[in-house]
Symmetry: none
Subunit: 199 residues, 4 copies
DNA sequence: CATTAAACGAGACGGTACGTCTCGTCTTTGC
DNA sequence: GCAAAGACGAGACGTACCGTCTCGTTTAATG
C-alpha cells in the first residue's frame, strides 16, 4: 500500500529509515492537505509541521504528489472478507474507501490525493497501482463469478463498471463536497447491479 | 456563462473592458492548463502567452481558479433542443459537456477547471453556479416530467441522479484519462433510467 | 520659476491649461514627497490626491522629477533686496532657501527635489536652471563687487564658493536631517567670507 | 563596516553564509547604482546580474537601501595614519571618501548610497553608524587636540564642523556632478581651519 | 572500541511564481 | 480640445516555495 522507495536492503552500514519521521511526515501531509488543498499545499509547511528536513522527504518519495497518495492510502483500511450476496460482495470492495472518506479529514485528504494523482506523474502511478491491486483485480474476480452465475451480463467492461461505481463517490468528494453517508457503498453496488443485470 | 466582474455599468468615463484581451487570456489559460496541469499552472505564463498584463487578469477575475472555470465553460456549447424520448432528453443535457471533452485540449481543460473548482473558493462557486443553471435546473424539469409519467420513481433525489450521471464522466477525465467516446451521454442516460426506473 | 511646458500660446482655441489643476498637483506632490520620500513617491498617488488625471500630469511635465522640482521651487520665495554689508548681501541669496526649508514640510520637499534632480535628467536641468538664475548669476555679481573692493580674493572660483555655501545646507537637510536654524544663511555667509577673505 | 545581519553565530547547523554570493551582490549593486540611479535601481536587476536569488538579498540585508550603503562603504578604504600638521590630520579623515569618489563608478555609487540613506530607514542608520565610527569620533579627537593647542576655537560644534567639511563634497557628487579633484580633502581641511581658527 | 557510512535536522542557495503596485500610454466620456 | 476616469502592457515589489546542496550531529553496523 506504500509507494515509497523503502525496498529495505536490510544489511547496510548506518542507521535505517526512521519510522518516526515517516509517519510524522504522512500525518503532517494529511493535516496540510486538509488545511490548504492541493494547489497551495507546500512541502516547506509539511517539513516544518513534521519537524522534518525537506531532504528527508525528497529522499523517500519521488514527488510530493506520491507522498500525498501515500498519506491518503494509509487512511484506507483493508477490505473485510466479502459477504454472501452479490451486492454485498461488490460493496465490500469500496467500503474501505467510504470509511476513509468518513474519518476526520479523510474527505479532504482523499480529494487531495485524487488531485495529486491527476496532476503528478508519480502520484498517478501510485494511485493507479493501488487501484489495480485493491479494486480492479478483486472486482474482476467478483464480476467474473457473477457473470458465470448469470447475475450480470457476460460482456461487461471491467473499467466501465469501476467508473460507474467510483465516479459518483469522487464527484461527491470533489465537487459536491457533501458528506458520504453510511451505506453509500451498498447503494452504489445496488445501482451497478441494476445497470448490468441480465434482466 | 461568465463568472467575471463585467457587470458593465454602461455609462462610465474611461475605456471599457477589452474583449480582445479577455479572449486572449482565456485561450492562453486553456493552452497552459493543457500543458501544465492545475498545480503547476502559472499566471505569469498565461499573461506572457496572452501578451497581457497580470494586472488585467487580477482586475477581471476574482481568482485564477475562476479564470480556469471561465476558460472551460467557454468550451461548452449550448444545449440543443431536447429530443422526444426520455433517454434522449436526459442525454441532451450532458451532451455539451461530452462535446467539450472531445475537442482538442478540452479533456485537459475540463480536468483543470474541475480541479480548480475543488481547490478554489471562487472557482467552486462559479462552477456550481453553472451546474445549477445549465444542468441542475433543466434536469429537475425533465425528471419531474418523467416522474409524472411514471417512467422513473417519484422519490428520486435530484442531486444523487446528477452525481450518477456526471460522476463517471469526471472519473474518466481525471483518473482514467481515457477518451470520452461518441455516445457516452446516451449510455449514461440509459444507465440512469435503468437505475431509477419504476420497474 | 516654473520648468513645465506652459509656454502659453495665449490665443488659441479651446480651454487652456487649468491653473486649479496645476496647483492641486503641485500641492499633492509636496504632500506625497513629505510622506513617501523620493523612491517610493508615486504618480498615481499624486493624481489621486489631487483629483487629477495622470494624463494631465504627463501632459504638462516632462517627467515626475521635474514636477517635484517645480513643487519645491514654488516654496522658495523671491529674494528680498540685498543688504548693505558683504555678509548680508551674500546671505540674502540663500535666505529664501533657508525659509523654504523651515516651512511645514519644506525640509522633506526640498530633500525630494534635490534627489529628483540627482536622479532624473529633466529634474536636474530644471534644478540647475533655477540655480543659475536665482543663485549663480546674482552671486557672481555680488562676488565680483566684493572682489573689486578687495573684500575677498580676486581669483575665487564661483562654483566652488556656491558649493561651500550650499553644500552644508543640503547635508543638513538630507543626511543630518536636523532643523535649519534661524540665521543659518548669515552664518554660512560669514564662513564663506572668512574662507575667501583677502586677509 | 558592514551593516548586514551576519552576526555569525559560529556554531550552527546547516551551511553558513556564502561569501561568494555576498560579494557578487555588492558588486552588482555598485554596477546597477552606476547605471540606474537610486529611484530606478531594481533588486531584480541586482539579483540577475549577481546570479543570486532575491531571497538571498532579503535574507541578509534589512532593506535594499542598507545594501546600497554596504556596497558603497566597501569602496571606502581605511584611513591612513594621521599626519603631523593640523590641516593634514583633518584631511586624513576624509581622504578615504575622496578616494572612493574617484574610483571608477565610485561617484555614482556614493551618490546612490547617500540617497538611499536619505530615503530609507535602515540605510540611514547604517550610514550614520559608519559616520559616527569612522568620521565623527576620530574627528572629535582631532578637534579636541587642536582646540587644546589653541589652533581652533574651543567652542566649536562638532557636527557643524563635519557639516562644513562633508557638505560641499556631497554637493559636488550629487548636484554639480563634477569630478572630485586630487587634493580636495586638503582644501576642505584648510577652509575648515580658517573658519574655526582662533585668529 | 574506533571507524565509517547513512539518515537526519536545519537551513542557505538559485530560481520561479505569487498577488500587488507603479509606470507611462491609450481610449472613452463629459464639459 | 482639455480634463477626469480608468484600462492596458510592462515590469518591479517583497514573500513563499521549489528542489538541491551543504553543514554538523546522531545512530548503527563493521573492523
Amino acid at each position: 500500500m506504500s509507494t515509497d522507495a523503502s525496498v529495505k536492503k536490510t544489511s547496510r552500514k548506518g542507521p535505517s529509515r526512521s519510522e518516526e519521521s515517516r509517519s510524522a511526515i504522512l500525518e503532517a501531509t494529511r493535516a496540510e492537505l486538509a488545511e490548504s488543498g492541493w494547489r497551495t499545499f507546500s512541502v516547506d509547511s509539511v517539513a516544518k509541521r513534521a519537524s522534518a528536513s525537506k531532504q528527508t522527504i525528497y529522499r523517500w518519495w519521488p514527488s510530493i504528489g506520491a507522498m500525498c497518495v501515500d498519506a491518503a492510502l494509509a487512511l484506507i483500511p483493508d477490505s473485510p472478507d466479502g459477504g454472501r450476496d452479490p451486492q454485498e460482495r461488490i460493496a465490500t470492495l469500496i467500503v474501505p474507501l467510504e470509511a476513509a472518506a468518513r474519518t476526520g479529514n479523510g474527505h479532504a485528504v482523499l480529494r487531495g490525493a485524487l488531485m495529486a494523482a491527476a496532476d503528478d506523474q508519480h502520484a498517478g502511478e501510485a494511485w493507479r497501482g493501488w487501484m489495480n491491486r485493491d479494486i480492479r483485480q478483486p472486482m474482476r474476480m467478483v464480476l467474473a463469478e457473477l457473470a458465470a452465475k448469470r447475475v450480470i451480463r457476460r460482456d461487461f467492461d471491467l473499467d466501465e463498471v469501476i467508473e460507474q461505481l467510483l465516479g459518483p463517490l469522487w464527484h461527491r468528494i470533489c465537487v459536491i463536497r457533501g458528506p458520504v453517508k453510511e451505506g453509500y457503498s451498498m447503494q452504489q453496488a445496488r445501482y451497478a447491479l441494476r445497470v448490468y443485470s441480465t434482466i
